[in-house]
């Protein structure tokens, strides 16, 4: 469709787009390896320096931020939430896609509707519930409300619909498999690609959660985003320190992206076709 003449222009425009989208990340890295006295220079230092280890040492020693604990808490809560969301979403998604039961369509509509509800607006009573349960400043408060996801159920239903042949389920039934056995041995393996996408988006979403942790946790037991906000309120003139924290907080997501980037892209594009 595009002619020889316009080809270079197309690539040039796209490259500009890539540079714009990568530059803030690169700048994050550069500042994290520098010292504070050169950060504000003009022209800005565009090559990495040698201060990364110094800055990391200062980051882990920074009072109020509890950065290492924040990283640990976030890795733990994100992992638990991811496993749980993927399991329960696959289970419910399978039921909605492949099993017949009364009220199926109605209940599916409820799930669709809840996807649109801004649940965050209920955080004041949610906080009261956590006070009742004694879960203030504990990771249970972060994990338990996030164990299930309407979006996840919907996604897995869509996926199960086309990924699991009905004949396979019928055959297993005739062989005397229980429904859960069918789910575990036949459906779950077939759902793996869809589950991978859900796992990745859930992990990223939990890792980036901020409003709720800020409400229910204290600075002495934070998640990683909370730690970062502590850095930015307490040390806001210390750019290299904040940037080092921001860099470390981004590394796990970057690793996930490098390992599974293709699947993430596939997931976004498939989800969009269905939406």
């Amino acid at each position: 469709m595009i002619t020889r003449k316009t080809q270079p222009l197309l690539y040039a425009t796209l490259l500009v787009g890539i540079v714009l989208s990568a530059f803030p990340l690169y700048w994050l890295f550069v500042v994290a390896t520098r010292s504070n006295d050169v950060v504000g220079d003009w022209p800005p230092p565009l090559a990495p320096g040698e201060n990364l280890w110094d800055n990391l040492g200062r980051l882990f020693a920074a009072e109020d931020a509890n950065f290492l604990l924040g990283m640990g808490n976030s890795l733990l809560t994100s992992a638990v939430v991811t496993v749980s969301v993927v399991f329960f979403s696959s289970l419910a998604g399978f039921a909605f896609a492949k099993l017949k039961f009364r009220g199926r369509n109605g209940l599916l509509l409820v799930i669709l509707a809840t996807m649109m509800i801004p649940v965050q607006m209920g955080i004041i009573p949610l906080y009261m519930i956590m006070v009742e349960l004694g879960w203030q400043n504990r990771m249970e408060a972060i994990v338990v409300p996030a164990l299930v996801s309407a979006f996840g159920v919907f996604l897995m239903r869509q996926y199960a619909e086309q990924a699991v042949p009905d004949e396979l389920i019928e055959a297993a039934r005739i062989d005397g498999c229980s429904t859960f056995r069918i789910f575990w041995s036949i459906v779950l393996p077939a759902l793996r690609p869809g589950a991978a996408v859900l796992a990745l988006t859930t992990f990223m979403g939990t890792w980036n959660e901020f409003l709720w942790p800020l409400a229910v946790l204290e600075a002495d037991n934070p998640t990683v985003q909370f730690s970062l906000s502590q850095l930015s309120t307490t040390y806001y003139t210390d750019y290299t320190l904040m940037f080092t924290g921001a860099l470390v907080a981004t590394v796990p997501l970057l690793l996930v992206f490098i390992a599974f980037g293709r699947q993430i892209i596939g997931g976004i594009m498939e989800g969009a076709v269905k939406a």
Binding site: P24, V144, Q225
Partner: protein
């Protein structure tokens, strides 16, 4: 009476008649088949009801009370709402939120459209470009706030440095509404443009090629084709992104909070230049511990989002 010794023989003779134990198993399995679907969807509904739906509904109840950290006080009816409607700080935060929503959604979706149509051309290194535009959503959200706060810093920031090259005076980005909105919207735009462009790209790839070929034969230019073929054909994807961006934009919280820095963070600057409704709700509930009033704010945000959803729906339906 049946002779016990004869039974095995009788069974063999009967051939296919099911033995007694499997019949019980049959009945169990019928119950199992009937009820296990409910068991499979129960975890979602139970947890969502307790930690999602109940708190949301209970917010309305709390908002009708004089409720603080010591517990429920007097039932005050709509008093909190009466106060809220006359509260300039609340309306200011609504104004800020909607302002940033527009500044963040419109350019973002337009850029995403352009980017998607570029990515939809015959390209080498497809994966490289797609992963490249997706890099921003891999960045931790608070990290985005930190990086852009520095880039938009009055003294040390790169944006002012670049403006200096064309002889524009340094801007104090945090000081005014328009400037702080611009900085914060830039963060949102940067983070989500690539993601939305991939959604559009997926929709564009589903458009049959012969539509374009026919248009070319009819003499329609590239731009005409874009508006008359591409855009109408990816309408569902556009509606989807508009709705999602609106819901997310109305709850904007992390970026402006980090941008605020220091002690004025939750109030969105010393004059509340960039305080969003979510920040105002948080300030009332978790800094002033006025749960009743905070709940009234939360419930208003909820209604506002629902209202915008309906408006979105009506507009997109009319333009069909």
């Amino acid at each position: 009476m049946v002779d016990l010794k004869q039974r095995p023989v009788a069974r063999k003779a009967a051939g296919r008649t099911p033995p007694e134990r499997p019949r019980l198993r049959d009945r169990v399995s019928r119950v199992e088949v009937r009820w296990s679907p409910y068991l499979f969807i129960a975890p979602f509904f139970v947890i969502f009801a307790v930690f999602g739906l109940f708190p949301l509904v209970y917010t309305a109840w709390v908002s009708l009370h004089d409720w603080d950290i010591t517990g429920a006080g007097a039932f005050v009816g709509l008093d909190n709402y009466v106060t809220l409607f006359a509260d300039p700080d609340f309306w200011n935060s609504v104004y800020n939120t909607v302002g940033m929503l527009v500044l963040a959604t419109v350019p973002q979706l337009l850029m995403a459209l352009v980017l998607a149509s570029l990515l939809n051309q015959r390209l080498r290194a497809v994966t490289f470009f797609r992963m490249g535009v997706l890099l921003p959503i891999v960045t931790s959200v608070a990290a985005v706030g930190i990086v852009f706060s520095q880039i938009f810093d009055r003294d040390a920031g790169m944006v002012n440095g670049l403006l200096g090259l064309v002889n524009v005076d340094a801007v104090d980005w945090r000081a005014d509404k328009w400037s702080s909105w611009t900085a914060i919207s830039t963060m949102v735009n940067w983070r989500w443009t690539g993601y939305n462009s991939l959604i559009y790209l997926a929709a564009m790839q589903a458009i049959p090629r012969d539509l374009y070929e026919a248009a070319t034969v009819d003499g329609a230019g590239k731009i005409r084709q874009f508006w008359s073929i591409t855009v109408p054909n990816i309408r569902p994807a556009i509606v989807f992104t508009v709705v999602m961006s609106t819901i997310a934009g109305m709850q904007l919280f992390t970026e402006p909070l980090i941008f605020g820095q220091g002690s004025f963070a939750i109030s969105g600057g010393s004059l509340r230049q960039f305080q969003t409704v979510s920040m105002y709700m948080f300030e009332k509930a978790f800094r002033d511990f006025d749960y009743g009033y905070g709940s009234a704010v939360a419930w208003m945000i909820f209604l506002l989002i629902t209202l915008l959803g309906v408006v979105n729906f009506l507009i997109t339906r009319r333009s069909r």
